[in-house]
């Protein structure tokens, strides 16, 4: 069952659980909240939501996904023992152009600077996992090098 917090979005704000502190700002298809916006250039992690389960059975990401877990390491060797830095709702509600209705949109981007307590390194690796409404987690997405210099 989808986490209630992710189903009670109003006014076009996507839910973000900052697991290691608070960040802020927005970016991506759906605006984000959770703290002050970073100033200057930002790094946005973008992805394509899964549309199948591991066994290739079709998956409706809007219906079947609950949230994503974003992981950050100083090397690309993500393991089961790693703890996610942040959870991002898989679906966010946003206001329609006329501002009268809330439209559900798939979340496909996240501003990495929103993650608090990032390791002090000019190069980090980022990965993520999708979590279904049945709490089943995907494997790690292929790690991405995040050059912060």
């Amino acid at each position: 069952m989808r986490h209630p917090a992710f189903r009670m979005l109003l006014g076009g704000f996507a839910a973000v659980f900052l697991l290691a502190g608070c960040g802020g700002g927005g970016g991506g298809d759906a605006p984000q909240s959770g703290g002050p916006a970073p100033s200057g250039s930002v790094s946005v992690l973008a992805w394509t939501p899964p549309t199948t389960y591991n066994d290739n059975v079709a998956l409706d990401p809007e219906r079947d996904l609950d949230y994503y877990e974003i992981y950050v390491r100083q090397d690309p060797n993500f393991t089961e023992n790693d703890q996610p830095m942040v959870q991002v709702a898989a679906v966010a509600g946003t206001l329609s152009p006329d501002g009268r209705t809330v439209v559900q949109l798939l979340v496909t981007e996240f501003t990495l600077e929103l993650i608090p307590s990032l390791p002090a390194s000019s190069q980090l690796y980022v990965s993520m996992r999708a979590v279904g409404i049945d709490h089943q987690k995907s494997a790690f997405m292929a790690p991405l090098l995040w050059d912060r210099s």
Binding site: V44, L45, A46, W47, N54, L59, M128, A139, M141, L144
Partner: protein, 343 residues
């Protein structure tokens, strides 16, 4: 016209035939009618038949028919079948009927007191026990009891069963003895106790509880599943069971024996041999991790997991009691096309 015989002469109840124990047959008879009432013989060519009746009315009202068109001068009856009251007085009568249709008057009533019959008292005189003289440890044997009665008959009965000592065996109320594990042959005594009419008889039978040399290990017990214990690209679930340390008869494994396990899965709850699919073999631990996708099991499929222990001697156990599991293996595929964009 000549007047037909107006009544018959009774000769009364002639015989009593007790057949069988609780049934009774009586015979009534009468003199043949050969004349008309004026004493003239009935002409040749005419035949006489008889009808016999009984009643509780000395005035011969409310007649009950015992028989009609009787060629003979006697007939039999069962007082109980006729509905006669034991100890009561009944009255018999009869009439003669010519083949021309002429009938006599009813004969004078013949009274008879219906004897009071006391059913023979049959008492329990003995009980015997039948059943196997030996039962293998861990096995069962069924015992039966037969009662002997004072009339010489025998009937099967359900006695109160007991067995002694209970360390070697137990016995159900239905007489099924279950032998416990023993380290050497032991003798137990099966006792049947049966009571009827205040009489209690007992019988015993010795049974040898046979120590069977252990060869097959016990089946694994308490299979459980947990997980996922890993949720990476291969999502692993863990099957666990109690280590097998005994033979099938619960006696400890001999020193030096080692056990490995073969694990199966099937969609057949009956665990039919042909349906079993190998999950893992020659497992030395009492756990096995498996990826449902690898077999392949289908998400939401109901399957049954079982295991079998195998000794280093090659002896195998029976299949363990299975557990039912709904395959819940497939989490989402990971997000794809990840990229980090500077904005």
């Amino acid at each position: 016209m000549k007047k037909f015989a107006s009544y018959l002469l009774w000769v009364g109840i002639l015989a009593t035939l007790a057949i069988p124990a609780f049934a009774e047959t009586r015979t009534i008879s009468w003199d043949p009618v050969t004349t008309y009432t004026d004493g003239t013989p009935i002409e040749a060519g005419k035949t006489v038949s008889y009808s016999a009746y009984w009643t509780t009315d000395p005035g011969l009202g409310s007649l009950h028919t015992i028989g009609t068109s009787l060629a003979a001068t006697s007939t039999t009856f069962d007082p109980d079948v006729q509905g006669m009251t034991r100890g009561g007085t009944v009255y018999f009568t009869a009439k003669a009927v010519l083949n021309t249709g002429e009938a006599s008057a009813l004969s004078p009533a013949y009274s008879w007191v219906v004897p009071v019959v006391t059913p023979p008292v049959v008492t329990l005189t003995g009980v015997t026990v039948s059943g196997p003289s030996s039962v293998n440890e861990g096995g069962t044997g069924t015992y039966t009891a037969t009662a002997t009665w004072s009339d010489g008959t025998n009937t099967s009965v359900t006695p109160a069963w007991s067995v002694s000592p209970t360390t070697y065996a137990s016995i159900s109320s239905g007489g099924v003895l279950t032998a416990s594990a023993v380290t050497s042959n032991q003798t137990a005594t099966v006792t049947a106790s049966y009571t009827s009419g205040g009489v209690t008889k007992t019988a015993t039978r010795a049974v040898t509880i046979v120590n069977v040399p252990a060869t097959a290990p016990a089946a694994p017990k308490n299979i459980g599943i947990s997980g996922p214990v890993s949720s990476g690209a291969t999502e692993l679930w863990q099957l666990v069971w109690d280590p097998v340390t005994t033979y099938a008869g619960d006696s400890p494994l001999d020193p030096g024996r080692s056990v490995r396990y073969t694990v199966y899965w099937t969609d057949d709850p009956a665990l039919t041999a042909g349906s079993l699919k190998l999950l893992a073999s020659s497992v030395s631990a009492n756990t096995v991790d498996f990826d449902p996708l690898g077999y392949p099991m289908v998400k939401n499929q109901v399957i049954y997991l079982t295991a079998q222990s195998v000794l280093d001697t090659g002896d195998q156990s029976s299949l363990a009691a299975s557990i039912e599991w709904v395959v819940a293996n497939a989490g989402p595929a990971p997000p794809a096309h990840g990229q980090i964009i500077k904005k």
